[in-house]
Amino acid sequence: MKRFRIVSVGLHLVVSLWSLFVLLPVIWMVLAGFRTRAEIFTDPLGLPRSFSFDAFERAWNTGIAGFIVNSIFVTLISVAIIILVSSIAAYVLARTESRVLKILYILIVASFAVPSQSVLVPLYQIISAAGLLNSLFAIILPYAAYGIPFTIVLFYAFFLEFPRELEEAARLDGCSRLQVITRVVVPLSGSAIASAAIFQAVFIWNEFLLALLLLTDSRIKTLPLGMLNLRGQFSSDWPAVMAGVSIVTLPMLILFILAQRYFVRSLAGLGK
């Protein structure tokens, strides 16, 4: 029994240490936002002497509100497009017996392996040729395109396991193919849809490379660019940078803690 206790304490210690390692930078980020430039230089590890919101104000004035609005807009629209077109396409692919469509599915799976880094040059050329450079759609369409293959693979697996009898019953009940999808399949796919939507939303909310490439006008930048902007504007003003990062990160963390069950379930489902 005693040996069991020691093992148990040891295991707690291991996870506690990593948890602490994860937590400390976050805590430190928030505290740094409340400190002054001078304080942080003289005593990097100390606590703020007074809770001043000056740094937050400096950070906020770089236009974070606008970045947040842009990010929300881009994320919502992209995720909506991804879910809508992927679910319909995955359903057709999962139900077809056509060889041509099976090949199409393999093509989509293959496109999942194409890293966005390898198409930077033509992507830039296509977007600028279409005159979409510095429009939010310049980023929404590629985001949708990069989210679709993985979402199709996810939904495809889900639809393969979806009970066929329910669809057959619906067809006997008089549903057209579209009605089978809208009245029976979609209402029963809530968990898969939520899973895919959360995953894509987290990805798009944080996406940096394509935004860097395609959004140069500061009015339409998304949050990751906005944060990089902080670094550019306040090169050694760490309190302002950390205040800005806190403004962006803390709401996300709170949202995550409130809805963590869904986040975890969504991401855990990806391994299956």
Binding site: E168, A169, L172, D173, G174, P187, L188
Partner: protein, 378 residues
């Protein structure tokens, strides 16, 4: 006009030939049960009737209308699935009324039809519940109710009772019989359970390898199977078979010998459906209930009891007859099954001599076709 007519239906799945020129006519109000081992094509046939499978060639008529290429809902059929296929996101009432809602019927009409079906099936108090709150038997009733509200020309059942436990299955068999009597609608029922087939059908269709082997009333099929497959398929425990050959043929008697036995049996030549010549291999068959204990006239089997199942009002004995082996028995071990409608005090290894009266013996030719039906007392 037949309620359902199928002519020369063919179905290929790639290289697999699922239905081989299948034809069948079903009259208005019949309860037809299709049975056969798995993969025999019975489910494919049912699903083709429903329109859930497209057929390679052939035609399907329902009440005289050619529905071969119609959408499922245009065919006037309703189907009850093995695992119920209830919509989990709809209440019982919504499940039952869904087809009418899709068809755009007025609300009052839907409510009335659902209430009527619920009354027939005695599930009125469950109408507001969701399927997951119901037991298996209740779910199956809802699935049947959904079929009733469609008021179809033909009901299709795809092994509807196989997910239920034994007691519920017996109860639902009775209820389905009552429902059929009440509605009087044509019903086509697929099962692999020959008890369901025997108890519910007006007519049984026995299928194997995409071919209809025989159709007929349960007792006709039981008493006069057209071949050794049908003879073995209906009845539980199944018919006992023995290998033998024709010994001699005279004008009015045919004598035969049985592998492993010195006995010579004689049957009247007029019983045989076609002529045989001496030396031809044959198979003998007898039902487990046809054997009598004790010695007498007929085939004598010196059994040693190996397994005894005492069920109270009946006794099943599986016994070993030494050199005389049964072939194609359920357990594949050469033992004979014996059924006595009374209690027998027999235990393992007891010696038990039984006699099968010559009149109770079926004969099959080398092709498996029936050569002689048992002459029954009835």
């Amino acid at each position: 006009m037949p309620s359902l007519q199928i002519s020369n239906l063919e179905k290929h799945y790639g290289d697999f030939h699922a239905l081989k020129s299948t034809s069948l006519e079903i009259e208005e109000g019949e309860f037809v049960v299709m049975v056969g081992p798995s993969g025999c094509g019975k489910s494919t046939l049912l699903r083709s009737i429903a329109g859930l499978e497209t057929v390679t060639s052939g035609k399907i008529f329902i009440k005289g209308r050619d529905v071969t290429h119609r959408e499922p809902f245009e065919r006037g059929v309703a189907m009850v699935f093995q695992n119920y296929a209830l919509y989990p996101h709809m209440t019982v009432g919504q499940n039952m009324g869904f087809n009418m809602k899709i068809a755009g019927r007025p609300k009052a009409e839907i409510v009335e039809a659902v209430d009527r079906a619920a009354r027939i099936l005695r599930i009125t108090e469950h109408l507001e519940k969701f399927p997951k709150a119901l037991s298996g038997g209740q779910k199956q009733r809802v699935a049947i109710g959904r079929a009733i509200t469609r008021s179809p020309d033909v009901f299709l059942f795809d092994e509807p009772l196989s997910n239920l436990d034994a007691a519920l299955r017996t109860q639902m068999r009775v209820e389905l019989g009552r429902l059929h009597a009440e509605l009087g609608t044509t019903m086509v029922y697929v099962t692999h359970d020959q008890v369901e087939a025997m108890t519910m059908a007006n007519r049984i269709v026995v299928m194997r390898d995409g071919i209809i082997e025989q159709t007929g009333s349960p007792l006709d099929l039981y008493n006069q199977p057209t071949n050794i497959f049908v003879a073995g398929f209906l009845g539980s425990p199944r018919m006992n078979f023995l290998a033998g050959k024709i010994d001699s043929v005279t004008a009015d008697q045919v004598s035969l010998t049985i592998d492993g036995s010195t006995q010579v049996l004689s049957v009247p030549a007029e019983d045989l459906k076609h002529a045989v010549s001496p030396g031809a291999p044959i198979r003998l068959g007898f039902r487990p209930e046809a054997a009598l204990t004790g010695e007498g006239d007929g085939l004598v089997l010196p059994l040693r009891a190996r397994v005894v199942e005492s069920l109270g009002r009946e006794t099943l004995i599986y016994g070993d007859a030494g050199d005389i082996q049964s072939i194609e028995s359920e357990s594949q071990d050469g033992m004979f099954a014996l059924h006595q409608p009374r209690q027998l005090r027999v235990t393992h290894d007891d010696r038990l001599d039984v006699t099968v009266p010559t009149d109770a013996i079926y004969l099959f030719d080398s092709e498996g076709q029936t050569l002689r039906f048992a002459r029954l007392a009835s």
